[in-house]
């Protein structure tokens, strides 16, 4: 190619890029919403969903997730497991500064885990999970830490990127109760993230400014504001009026209105989340796998997805969602809508039609007590299930309550026969805490399911470090779970994110992963 031609081609190629770059507003500001006043401490037991995303901007972890949801470097640059899988060494990034200018070192990592997360007296978020697997964190040198494990934990790097921000040791020195460290947790947090808190207006908003000293370069946005708006309709109105740049939409019924707005763009994200029905294994009726299978065959899940979720979901086959491309398999037992088969399986399990149309066994009618919460779409879903089960002669008795009372009855007391809910986990196939026999009754294993074969597989999955070995184990585990149905798997919903077109640079993977790359976001000039 001759030089002038080359130059022209290059100019043609670069011009749009240059134009795009010049469109970036250097003083850009993005506005988000959150539902309540956040707690600026990812490990605080008072830090719930309203704090999670904001904390991602302030407190990076050792790892974060890349576009394929694999753990990639953040405050750690590389890591390696020992041959027996009992020790993981993490090399930390040099030159990272806390928001107050102090250097970030291995001491901060050791403090976060040893003094906060693994401290039994504190009951930090997810601490049971960490304490089950991690013995302690040793400082090898100022830029190297070593996680000493109680048992192999192949998914450690993934968990380190899941709302596991590192706290500054120097700020917590002399603090007796880290949860009552109000100055830090509610007003002036100090992190290493691309943004730092500059103003908290009680009950109204939190203003963040870019951290010019961020190790990854100057963030493109100058400011981010989180408005505290609990009401979802008010959030929607703010988005439509342009006062807010991004919301996640829980109710898909409002989507048509949003789609027709030329300033907005709808982004559908899959995530590691699945809805389930839990059948309490304390109840002997549900220990019969035929009963569990029958109750799933009785549900027309595609129709339910269409009516409740307006189609924004796909039927689930197990706890490993399709977003985990390396591990997900759908070559497992399937349960298409088949009421005849459901009835047949129930008959095989000894359930015979009673005089009032409700199935009976040993003179007792098949009635399932189902507590449900007035929360998002749980009630309409449970009502639909009630209808489908009625068609096969199973009566579900609903009891609706507020979320807090629901947790008390279902999770704390395990006083239920059937219930609907969902799990959201890091994008890793390691689901041991949710299915292990050891966590039945007290831990995350809500149905109280016990199966030694599954326990063995899940333990093996934690020991296997290579992707191929893990794939083999977790394929087998998925096959087993689809056949045995520890939970009745309902669907993998899509997360609906609606954002203003001017807000750009988001990766569009999952919201949690997107917020780990906030320095890449920008807004275009109007």
């Amino acid at each position: 190619m001759k030089t002038p031609l080359k130059l022209a081609a290059l100019t043609a190629l670069l011009l749009p890029m240059a134009a795009a770059q010049s469109d970036i507003d250097p003083n850009g500001k993005a506005t988000f919403v959150t539902t309540a006043e956040p707690t600026f401490n990812p490990w605080s037991p008072n830090s719930f969903v309203e704090s999670n995303l904001l904390n991602e901007l302030l407190f990076p972890g050792l790892t974060r997730w890349d576009k394929n949801l694999r753990p990639s470097p953040d405050l750690a640059t590389s890591w390696k497991a020992s041959n027996d899988g009992m020790k993981w060494t993490f090399n930390l990034r040099r030159g990272v500064k806390w928001h107050d200018g102090k250097p970030f070192t291995a001491q901060d990592v050791a403090f976060t885990f040893n003094d906060i997360v693994l401290n039994k007296e504190l009951g930090a978020n997810q601490s049971s999970e960490w304490r089950n697997s991690v013995e302690k964190v040793n400082v090898v040198n100022p830029y190297t830490v070593e996680f000493v494990l109680k048992k192999p934990w192949a998914s450690l790097p993934t968990y380190l990127g899941y709302y596991s921000g590192i706290l500054p040791k120097h700020k917590f020195e002399g603090v007796k109760d880290p949860w009552k460290f109000v100055e830090f947790n509610k007003q002036n947090p100090v992190g290493t993230g691309p943004f730092k808190v500059v103003r908290v207006s009680s009950g109204a908003s939190v203003r963040l400014e870019r951290n010019d000293a961020y190790w990854g370069g100057k963030p493109k946005l100058k400011e981010i504001e989180f408005k505290i708006i609990p009401d979802s309709n008010a959030q929607l109105a703010q988005l439509l009026s342009g006062d807010v740049d991004l919301i996640s939409v829980a109710n898909p019924e409002t989507l048509d209105r949003l789609k027709s707005n030329p300033n907005l763009v709808v982004d559908l994200q899959t995530q590691n989340l699945y809805y389930w029905i839990s059948l309490n294994q304390e109840d002997p009726r549900f220990r019969d796998v035929k009963v569990r299978q029958a109750l799933l065959y009785a549900l027309d899940r595609p129709a339910m997805i269409k009516s409740v979720l307006r189609g924004y979901a796909q039927p689930a086959t197990g706890p490993i969602a399709p977003i985990q491309k390396n591990f997900y398999t759908n070559k497992v037992s399937q349960y298409p809508f088949d009421p005849a088969r459901a009835k047949k399986l129930l008959a095989e399990a000894g359930w015979k039609p009673g005089p009032d149309g409700v199935l009976q066994k040993d003179g007792k009618p098949f009635v399932i007590e189902m507590p449900t919460a007035q929360y998002q779409q749980l009630l309409p879903i449970t009502l639909l299930i009630q209808q489908y089960w009625k068609n096969i002669g199973v009566k579900a008795e609903l009891k609706t309550m507020d979320w807090n009372s629901y947790i008390q009855q279902v999770v704390v007391k395990r006083d239920y026969q059937g219930t609907v809910n969902w799990w959201s986990t890091p994008a890793d196939p390691d689901v041991l805490p949710y299915y292990a026999s050891s966590s039945a009754g007290t831990g995350y294993n809500i149905p109280g399911y016990k199966n030694p074969a599954l326990d063995r597989l899940l333990e093996e999955g934690r020991r296997a470090t290579s992707t191929s070995a893990r794939k083999k184990v977790y394929t087998e585990a998925q096959e087993l779970m689809a056949k045995e149905l520890p939970y009745l798997y309902l669907w993998y919903p899509q997360m609906i994110i609606v954002k203003n077109k001017r807000l750009q640079g988001m990766r569009g993977v999952t919201q949690a992963a997107d917020f780990q790359y906030a320095h890449e976001w920008y807004v275009t000039r109007k």
């Binding site: 707690t39 037991p45 008072n46 978020n125 009680s202 504001e225 609990p230 009026s241 947790i407």
Partner: protein
Amino acid sequence: MLSFFGQRLGQGAVVLVLISLITFSLINLAPGGPSSAVRLDTTAEQREVLIKQLGLDRPLAVRYLEWGGGVLRGDFGTSMNGGEPVGPKLLERLGNTAQLALAALVLSVVVGIPLGILTALRKNSPLDHAVNGVTTLGMSIPDFWTGIMAILLFAVTLKVLPSAGMYDASGGFSLSGWLRHTILPASVLAFVMLPNLVRFTRSSLLEVLRADYLRSARAKGLSERIVILKHALRNALVPIVAMVGLILPALLSGSVIVESVFGWPGMGRMAVDAALGRDYTTVMAVTVVAGAVVIITNLVVDLAYTLIDPRIRHD
């Protein structure tokens, strides 16, 4: 007069203690608790730790007495959700709610009383019927719906007013910013309060207009303006003042919904958040302070009677 004042204050204190006792018992007996708040993935072990940290493992009576002792010393305790001292935060939020309630009250009074007078004087006229229709709407439409519709019209479609918050994005106070943010929520709150005030003013005035002394006043040759403004209205005002006194507690409770819809950082929203999160200390503080506000308002209204109508004596 002084003994009346003292007596009422004493009664108020007893009522407050009762309110606190009932609220304390109710929230503690309700299922759930701070330790089971919000997260499905909190384990039994973590919950036990939390229960101990928050002191919820101690007897109810001990906790109540401790709380009461704190309140007497002016300490409302710390929030179970985040450890912040409740008192200063509540004061700030109460101030925000007072601003909203006061704006709504002014709007209701400025619009409601003249409308009531006008409809009384023009009883059964088209204006009377029209106002009657609008006030019926105001009474029957829930405030959250009115709020959302107002947001859709003025913030989303016309884009003339902000849809949520109290101040401009800069976060600082400016009168114009405050006014712009207050118009919508205050109007919605006033729209709900207005019907009572209009109707009450109307019926109160109509009753007075039928009184004999007004006929005498007219017979003396006084102008209609003087008859209405000086004689009729003054007497009609006594029950209207009582009505305003009744509206205040309704404004406080109405603000719970309106504050949530408009993202207004007031006491109503604080109460909702605290109740949902089972933040016992905050729920207690909000209830007691709201109760005290209502009791004091009623006392002030009673005192106002004597100023309007010296015939009423509190002996």
